[in-house]
């Protein structure tokens, strides 16, 4: 057992949390079996997993101290990027999804030119404004994107081809679910790697004390840029996956507040300084929203997200998972806790 500064007793070997996590993982793995008779349940969790990846991606920028209110820009750019490449050029989504991520990263470079010199609240405001640009351009570029009408009949999620065996992922909700689940697990591992590496350390240092980080040899702007680009890349991939999942895009949908606000809310409420906090928040809160609040309030059930972010900022800024003391930064060798 170790004591943190706030007197909170934590124990990494605490069997209850590890057991709970394992149980949750098994549940997710076996969900299609459990929810055999309900496509809706499967859909909700697929969407929850996608939001989990978006929350993870948002958090890569979040640990450097920058709060972005406009991540939907990268989501939408990734979505449209992938969709247009696969529609116009007939490239398989296996390639266009990562390419969509790259397009989003390219857009992030432009964003950085305007926004990266800003800090704190002003950075947040700038990101809020920045979503409008790709949204309005997409809306007006009718010849390419059919504007506000959106694009229908998109290629679905890619086909898995092994030798002569072809499996069309998009045809089966179960396969789609596992596709997104695999991506989510992959991203969790990647983010854990980033957080535990020297890159993660640098970002934490930049967030806490920028001047001291500089004095210690960290090139602050370079690391902030890197975190923004990585964050945009994975958000763009999320957008591309979403587009191919529902086979429809429209500017007000993919550039909408929903995809800016909700990943951010999951990341902050889950635990901005932890790896597992954001995806856990997504996997718990989104199903609650859909299964409990949505039937009660078909219009306006998303008030939940507004309420919890207010409560989180006022009472639990380090998030639920962070409050439990579960955010291990670097390996136990240095005994770090966030």
């Amino acid at each position: 057992m170790r004591k943190t500064g706030s007197g909170l007793q934590i124990d990494e070997n605490f069997p209850l949390t590890k057991g709970a996590l394992l149980l949750g993982f098994v549940f997710l793995l076996l969900l299609p079996v459990v929810a055999r008779y309900s496509d809706y349940v499967l859909q909700v969790f697929t969407h929850a997993l996608l939001l989990a990846t978006l929350a993870l991606a948002w958090n890569i920028l979040g640990i450097s101290g920058s709060i972005s209110l406009g991540h939907a820009a990268f989501f939408g750019v990734g979505a449209y990027g992938s969709v247009l490449l696969s529609l116009e050029l007939g490239i398989s989504p296996w390639f266009t999804i990562p390419l969509g991520g790259l397009v989003a990263t390219g857009f992030a470079v432009i964003t950085a030119l305007f926004c990266l010199r800003l800090r704190g609240g002003y950075f947040a405001l700038a990101t809020l404004a920045f979503v409008e640009i790709p949204k309005v351009i997409t809306d007006n570029w009718d010849s390419l994107t059919r504007g506000s009408l959106g694009l229908l009949g998109l290629p679905g999620l890619p086909t898995l081809s092994l030798g002569s065996y072809h499996f069309d992922i998009s045809a089966s909700p179960v396969a789609s679910y596992y596709f997104v689940l695999s991506y989510a697990l992959l991203l969790i591992c990647l983010v854990a790697l980033i957080f535990r590496s020297n890159l993660g350390l640098a970002l934490h240092a930049v967030r806490q004390e920028e001047a001291a980080a500089e004095a210690v040899g960290i090139q602050v702007q370079r690391y902030r840029l890197l975190s923004l680009l990585l964050s945009a890349f994975f958000t763009g991939i999320g957008g591309a996956c979403y587009a191919h999942l529902i086979r429809y895009v429209e500017p007000s949908l993919v550039y909408g507040l929903h995809f800016s606000a909700i990943p951010m809310i999951f990341a902050i409420c889950g635990g901005r300084f932890t790896v597992l906090g954001p995806p856990l928040a997504a996997l718990v809160l989104y199903p609650i929203d859909q299964f409990i609040f949505h039937p009660l309030l078909p219009a306006g059930h998303e008030f939940l997200y507004g309420a919890i972010i207010i409560l989180a900022i006022l009472f639990m800024p380090s998030g639920f998972w962070g409050r439990l003391g579960k955010g291990h930064l670097v390996s136990a060798k240095t005994g770090s806790i966030e």
């Binding site: 590496s197 020297n198 240092a205 806490q208 001291a212 500089e214 090139q219 930064l329 005994g335 966030e338």
Partner: protein, 245 residues
Amino acid sequence: MSLLKLEALSKRFGDCWALKEIDFSINEGEIVGLVGPNGAGKTTLVNLITGRHRPTSGRILFADQEITACKPHEIRRLGISRTFQSSRPFAKMTTLENVVLGRIFSKEFQLFTRQTDIDTAEQLLELVGIAHKARLPASDLTLSEQRRLDLARALANQPRLLLLDEVAAGFSPLAVKQAVELVRRVRQRGVTLCIVDHFLTLSLRVSDRLLALDHGEKVAEGRPQEVMRNRKVIRAYLGTRREEN
């Protein structure tokens, strides 16, 4: 051998000249005290040397290499470290991690922290005397311990020159004594030191030479006893006696 050389160094902020034509050099192995009342420009000088601000005019040479326009991370890699006046540990990280951070970014980028970095960091914590709090969050340390952490972090990259900004401010006499011993131990490791000290508690006891500033100008330099007897220095600190007016 002159390790650090300042040539006609000046800095202006808007209409105000924080430093005017400072000429000074620090020799290898020395301990130099940078003294003067509040607002004399001492911290500005440290900021110029470490790249936080750019000089308005003048040159800074480190081991005969010009570093006037270098950025903070380049300065660090060249072997110059500093501590801050208000000590700034990374509060949410452990003491050990703070020192490790001081080490890993001063050299070639590695993706992961190596065991050697952690071992070196532990040794440094022992040197400054806070090894028993290695795995606690840095925010748990007392003021004196935080200052020592700052020192350990600054030493982590094996600097040739270390700039200490007000490291003994607010210390009790006992703490000052410990600080003196610590500074001597650091010098024994081959580090040249420049100590910014406006209360004179530390620098008088431990410096080989003093540089005294007032209103951005150099008013005296030399051995501590000589500098402290210098009329201009006394006037800077205490003002003038009424008879002299």
